[in-house]
Structure formats: structure tokens, C-alpha cells
């Protein structure tokens, strides 16, 4: 039972980090705008920080999947979760209402309690991973990590397709660049 829970938590965490890291790496401007408005950083610094956060999230993906000790898998999640909670708290305390841009695109909702809750869930996921062991039925070490990565990649891809279904449908039916 514990091994199934560990697999679900790891796949979910890796899928979310893949989507947010990949999104911000390629489209960093929305999150950079949020950084700029929340902490008052310059444009260049905000863009750099946005990309740095994206790289950190992608490194966390590798650590969560390949970490050979429970703490190595848990710490990245707790650090990123704390970062999200602190960033949201600063935004709320300064009464800044700005779109998060957490997944790269600007259509996300403004920073608020949802983000704080999401950060808290990541922290709890990290705590959970320190207490439950990976099972051995799916293999060990790299074998298990590859399964986690591929399952998470599939989940992230499907979620991305579902989220963009309207735009993709329009792209397929009307072609690239039409009416723009």
C-alpha cells in the first residue's frame, strides 16, 4: 500500500514540476512579471530568476525520480513548496495582484490562497516521501526512476493537451497564424 502511495506521490510531483519547469524555461516572461511586481526586481533580474526557478524545478524532477535516499527525494519538494508559500505570502502581504505565470503562460489565476495551498501540498508530499518506502515490485534504482519519469511525462503531456485543447483545436482547424 505504501509503495503505491509513494509511486502516486512521486509521479504527481514529477508531472507538476515537469510542466511548470518546462513551461517557465521556454516562456519565462509571465512568471518574471510576477517576480518583478512582487519583489520589485528589474526586468533582467526577474527573467533570470524565472529561468533559474525553471531549472531548479527540472533538477528537482531528476532528484525525485533518481534520489536513492528518501531525503534526497523529499527535500527538493519541500524546498520548492516553501518557496511557493513564501512568494505567495510576500505577494499577499504587499497586496500585489498579479497572474502567477507558474506554468509559463499568462492565463493563470492571480497569486493567492490556491498557490499557498499548492506549496503546502508539495511540502506535505515531501514529508510523506520521507516516511514511506518505494516498493520493489516495479524494480529498483534506475529501473524504478525510469518508470516514474515516463509515467509523469505521460501525465504532464496529457494534462498539457487537455489544458490547451481549445487552442490546439483552433490550430488544427484554422492553421497556424490565421486571423492573428
Amino acid at each position: 500500500m505504501g509503495s503505491v502511495a509513494a509511486l502516486i506521490v512521486e509521479v504527481a510531483a514529477v508531472a507538476v514540476l515537469l510542466a511548470s519547469g518546462g513551461g517557465k524555461l521556454f516562456a519565462p516572461r509571465s512568471f518574471a512579471n510576477a517576480i518583478s511586481q512582487v519583489i520589485g526586481a528589474s526586468t533582467r533580474t526577474s527573467l533570470g530568476l524565472s529561468r533559474a526557478v525553471a531549472v531548479t524545478e527540472l533538477l528537482a524532477v531528476v532528484l525525485v525520480a533518481f534520489g536513492w535516499l528518501p531525503l534526497l527525494r523529499a527535500i527538493p519538494l519541500m524546498v520548492i513548496g516553501c518557496g511557493i508559500v513564501v512568494f505567495t505570502a510576500i505577494a499577499v502581504s504587499r497586496h500585489v495582484s498579479v497572474e502567477c505565470g507558474c506554468f509559463g503562460d499568462p492565463g493563470s489565476s492571480p497569486l493567492g490562497w490556491r498557490n499557498a495551498l499548492f506549496g503546502t501540498v508539495l511540502i506535505l508530499a515531501g514529508v510523506l516521501l520521507t516516511f514511506i518506502d518505494r516498493g520493489t515490485s516495479l524494480g529498483q534504482g534506475a529501473e524504478y526512476a525510469v518508470i516514474v519519469l515516463l509515467l509523469a511525462a505521460a501525465c504532464a503531456l496529457l494534462a498539457g493537451l487537455a489544458r490547451r485543447r481549445e487552442q490546439l483545436g483552433m490550430l488544427l482547424s484554422r492553421g497556424l497564424g490565421r486571423d492573428q
Partner: protein, 174 residues
Amino acid sequence: MTVIVILLSVVVLLLVVAVLGLFAMMGELNARVDGRAESLPTTLVPLEEARVGSVIERWPAEFGGLQSDTTAVLILSSSCTSCARILSGETGELPPPGNLGIVLVAPGIEDGVQFLSQYPRADDYPHFIDAGGDWTRENIGIQSSPSVIQLEARRIVKASAFASAQALVTEIPK
């Protein structure tokens, strides 16, 4: 588990990251070109390529009437659909004239005059037609429109892309 399987998994992972990145870029593009005014983002997106901090040496004579040291200039283009919608008022009311100028990048002066003649509200603002876009490239360093440049004593303090006139309301000095 062979090394090849691990390598293939890493390749798949990188491809997925790239696809997710493309989705995010598509969302960013979509937000800037979406046809519905209410769905347009009302935030400004910083332009990193702009020469923030530099002073504009060649100040167009058309902007002589801007009233204070704190001014803003919209960079629009005659070939940009969003710019036409902004000037037509489809995306909301532009900030009142006084501290706001318009630079219209057009292939030639005549093209610019013809474009502006379709949008009478442009006459309320001091405007300058930048034939070929040389002035904008040399003085501001950007090549995208619609954009807004905020200046203090002709020094660029902020340069951002925007998608609707609503986005300018809180940013432009009155």
C-alpha cells in the same frame, strides 16, 4: 536495465519538456493575439531587449508638446493587428493625452499617414511616424509591437509589451 533504456527515457523526458514549453509559448502567444477584449491580459510584460537606462538622443520634434518629464510612448506598427485594435478602442480607452505619445512604425511615411487616418483618436496624441523602424531600433532597441516605453527626462526607465489599452491605465502617468 540497460544504459540504452535510460538514455531513451532521458530523450523522451527532454522531448516532453520541450513540448510542454511549446504549449506555454503557445499560451503566451494566444494571450497576446486573442480576439476578445475581455480575455486580453491586463498586465505589462517586460521587454528585456530594450535599452533601459539609456537617454533618447534623437527626440522627435513631434513630441515637443509632451507636458512633463515623466512621459510614455506607445510603439505601434501599421502591420500589427493588435495595434489597430488598440487605436480603434476595441481593447479599452487609451490613457488621456498629455504625457503619452505614439510612435508608429511603418514601411514609409505615406503608409503611416494612411494607417493613422483610419483611427481619428490617434490625432489626440502627439505622434511620430518611424519610417522603416530605424528610430525605434536605434533609440529603444526593441522590434516588437505593441509596446510601451516609460521615460523620465527622455531616459528609458521601463519597456513593456502590452495587449490591451486597459493594461496601460495603471501604468501611464496622468
